[in-house]
């Protein structure tokens, strides 16, 4: 969690707002738990979980159905201004976690704090301040997009004037202003998804929770939605929690990811951190060396194998394709690239490509699940 520079900065900015003048009890109302250890018997005061302005924090959050443990002692933290990706297969417990965070399902044990409140005890206030895009979101098909949003605005207690202004604003933001007055029955899946995001943004949330926002959308639509999320986080300083089983799609947009398998969080961190932790300590380097002659492949292989740290050399599929080197230990990748460059220079060889290959989240995920969740999967 410490890998995010934003956290420290925001935390230090947010904290120094003590009761500076006048009415001290009024400060109690401001979002989140009071900074000092509270002696008041409030919902926050009773618990052992302090939040200090962290939008989402859970400790030991567990949900058990009759036979199945859907979520198993989950410790999670999402900071303001970051996009956190909750990644896992279908049925890994992502939606259950989200429903517990919204107070729509009671946890069996453990605690959660969302915007400083316990969603199990204070669901209404949590739902007022948290925007939620459900999995395969639906709208009243007979009503237009704008009418659907107006209904949500009314349920949130927005006055008609406020609602009208906010609706125009969010529709503009998600790029649906032109189609806002056609019935949602005519919308494409991607448009519905974007309308869902607009719907979640209506209440001007501090936290945005998106369940599978990119499922069942074409690749271009996915890019649009992820770009939209990025810009929203920049504009509004929200905390965003999104769940997905399409790992590579969300890899680019998430600041941090949590890997979820059979109800357990098997790894948390940035994609690079996770690659380091769950990698098999092998880095991959792509090399394109232009040689001529019949024995080109052999000479190339000899040259590359002579470099220290190179474990294996994989030929390209066709002649001319770059080759992939496995380098061990993983942190030797930089040195190996340097040596290849030097060797190419001294031998007068033409280098057509030389770069390190970033591990995909899919690979990390597979390894993380195999390593940590092996036994858990049998149980599920």
């Amino acid at each position: 969690m410490s890998g995010i520079p934003r956290k420290g900065r925001r935390g230090s900015v947010r904290r120094p707002n003590p009761p500076s003048s006048g009415s001290a009890p009024a400060a109690q109302g401001t979002g989140g738990a009071p900074p000092a250890p509270s002696r008041r018997p409030t919902a926050a005061g009773r618990s052992t979980l302090t939040t200090e302005g962290v939008p989402i924090r859970t400790r030991g959050l567990t949900k058990a159905y009759d036979e199945l443990i859907a979520v198993d002692h989950l410790d999670l933290e999402v900071q303001r201004g970051e996009i956190f990706g909750l990644l896992g297969q279908n049925g890994a417990g992502k939606t259950t976690t989200i429903l517990m965070l919204l107070g729509l399902t009671e946890p069996t044990s453990g605690e959660a704090r969302v915007v400083g409140l316990d969603p199990a005890r204070n669901p209404l206030e949590v739902k007022r301040r948290v925007g939620y895009l459900p999995d395969s979101v639906g709208f009243y098909t007979g009503m237009t997009g704008r009418e659907n949003l107006r209904y949500t605005a009314r349920l949130n207690g927005l006055s008609a004037d406020d609602a009208g202004r906010t609706i125009d604003q969010v529709l503009e933001q998600v790029g649906l202003a032109a189609r806002a007055d056609t019935p949602t029955g005519t919308y494409s899946r991607g448009m519905l998804q974007r309308l869902g995001i607009a719907d979640a943004l209506l209440k001007d949330p501090e936290v945005l929770i998106l369940d599978e926002p990119t499922t069942a959308i074409d690749p271009l639509g996915v890019v649009e939605i992820l770009d939209l999320l990025r810009s929203l986080v920049h504009e509004r300083e929200m905390a965003v929690l999104l769940s997905s089983h399409l790992l590579t799609q969300v890899q680019s947009v998430c600041d941090r990811v949590g890997i979820f398998a059979a109800g357990r969080l098997v790894g948390v961190g940035t994609v690079a951190e996770l690659a380091g932790r769950f990698g098999d300590d092998t880095a991959h380097v792509e090399v394109g060396l232009e040689l001529t002659g019949d024995d080109a492949d052999t000479r190339r292989e000899q040259l590359l194998r002579s470099i220290e740290g190179v474990e294996a050399v994989h030929h390209g599929e066709r002649p001319g394709d770059p080759w992939i080197l496995d380098v061990r230990p993983a942190d030797a990748g930089g040195r190996v690239r340097q040596e290849i460059l030097a060797a190419a220079a001294t031998n007068g060889l033409e280098l057509s490509s030389l770069r390190s290959v970033v591990p995909s989240l899919d690979d990390i995920y597979r390894r993380a699940v195999v390593r940590r969740g092996g036994s858990a999967r049998v149980a599920a």
Binding site: V13, T30, L99, P134, F139, Y140, R154, G157
Partner: protein, 348 residues
């Protein structure tokens, strides 16, 4: 990032706390009411109810007109507009017809209330708004009841209007009050079926299935109600044997009968709309006395020499248990629906 931004973010929650949506159910009810009014099912039901109310009214009006001389002295002549009709087909009477159609209205406006939202994928979105869970059920119930109240009021006023302007029958104050009470009892009866429809929409995942079950129950209770009561009563207390056993059996059957909303409603209607003394009816040997023809109405008037019309307050006293029974049944259905819905998972 700057201090200004930080101040803005910490200041926001205070402003937010001020906008507290108090009446989530009202917002939902308003939206559902609008949906119902514009829906195709509303149009169809209004047409059916309207037509079916006009036909018996026509029959009643003809009877009244034909024998105007005989009926001039009859009491409660305005109520006859609602209680007279075809001598051959019992259903062609306004009161009988409303008794049969009311459950249909209740189920039609509630059978897909919750499972419809579920299958449309709107339920999770609705539940993630700052409303209580019961706001959804309450709002939908109120909206359904409001729509039905509107339709029924329209029908009653239509019939009354035709009675007053075309036939020149002016209702007395007590008749007006009786009609209003009957309207309220009918709404209570509709409420029961509405609550039952809601219960089905919560318990059954598919709207089509819950509609089928609802209409099935309606036919079962309305058409085969007596048969079933006889069967169950026979099982609990067989009527074979001596006089005491027969009495016990009859009492059991009556007790079971009084759990059925259909019976409760019919009894309440009889007491309110047929203000002729039940004792008189018993003497004349008609059983539960419901005059279906003008002759019988005349008979009843003749027998006033023995007993007079049941007064309004006595009528009300008579139907009180039935009204309470109907409301109790409604509350039970509602409570079960409520508990089920609270325990259900939100996800689709």
């Amino acid at each position: 990032m700057t201090t200004v931004a930080a101040e803005a973010t910490t200041a926001q929650p205070v402003a937010r706390d001020l906008r507290v949506p108090r009446h989530g159910w009202l917002v939902i009810a308003r939206k559902e009411f609008g949906d119902h009014i514009l829906s195709a099912r509303f149009l169809v039901l209004v047409l059916v109810v309207g037509l079916a109310a006009i036909v018996p009214l026509f029959l009643a009006a003809n009877q009244l007109r034909d024998q105007a001389s005989q009926t001039s002295g009859a009491s409660a002549i305005f109520l006859a507009l609602f209680t007279l009709g075809s001598e051959q087909v019992a259903i062609l009477r306004v009161d009988a017809f409303v008794g049969i159609v009311a459950p249909l209205l209740g189920i039609a406006f509630a059978f897909d209330a919750v499972n419809g939202e579920r299958s449309d994928g709107t339920l999770p979105r609705l539940m993630s708004q700052p409303i209580h869970r019961d706001d959804v059920i309450n709002g939908k119930f109120v909206a359904g009841l409001a729509v039905i109240a509107l339709v029924l009021a329209a029908v009653l006023l239509l019939i009354s209007g035709i009675g007053i302007f075309r036939l020149g029958i002016i209702p007395t104050v007590s008749e007006v009050i009786r009609l209003i009470v009957w309207y309220v009892v009918t709404l209570a009866y509709v409420s029961f079926w509405l609550a039952l429809g809601l219960l089905l929409s919560v318990a059954v995942r598919r709207a089509a299935t819950s509609a089928l079950i609802g209409f099935g129950l309606w036919i079962l209770v309305t058409v085969f109600g007596g048969l079933i009561v006889g069967l169950i009563g026979g099982l609990i207390a067989p009527s074979a044997g001596g006089l005491e056993e027969q009495i016990a059996s009859a009492q059991t059957q009556q007790a079971i009968n009084h759990i059925l909303p259909h019976t409760l409603y019919r009894e309440a209607t009889t007491s309110i709309l047929f203000p002729f003394d039940q004792v008189t009816a018993a003497i004349s040997g008609v059983g539960s006395f419901t005059p279906t023809s003008i002759d019988q109405l005349g008979q009843a008037t003749d027998q006033r020499r023995i007993t007079s019309l049941l007064s309004l307050d006595q009528s009300l006293l008579l139907v009180w248990p039935q009204i309470v029974g109907l409301i109790a049944l409604t509350v039970i259905c509602f409570a079960v629906a409520y508990v089920l819905f609270m325990r259900q998972e939100v996800r689709a």
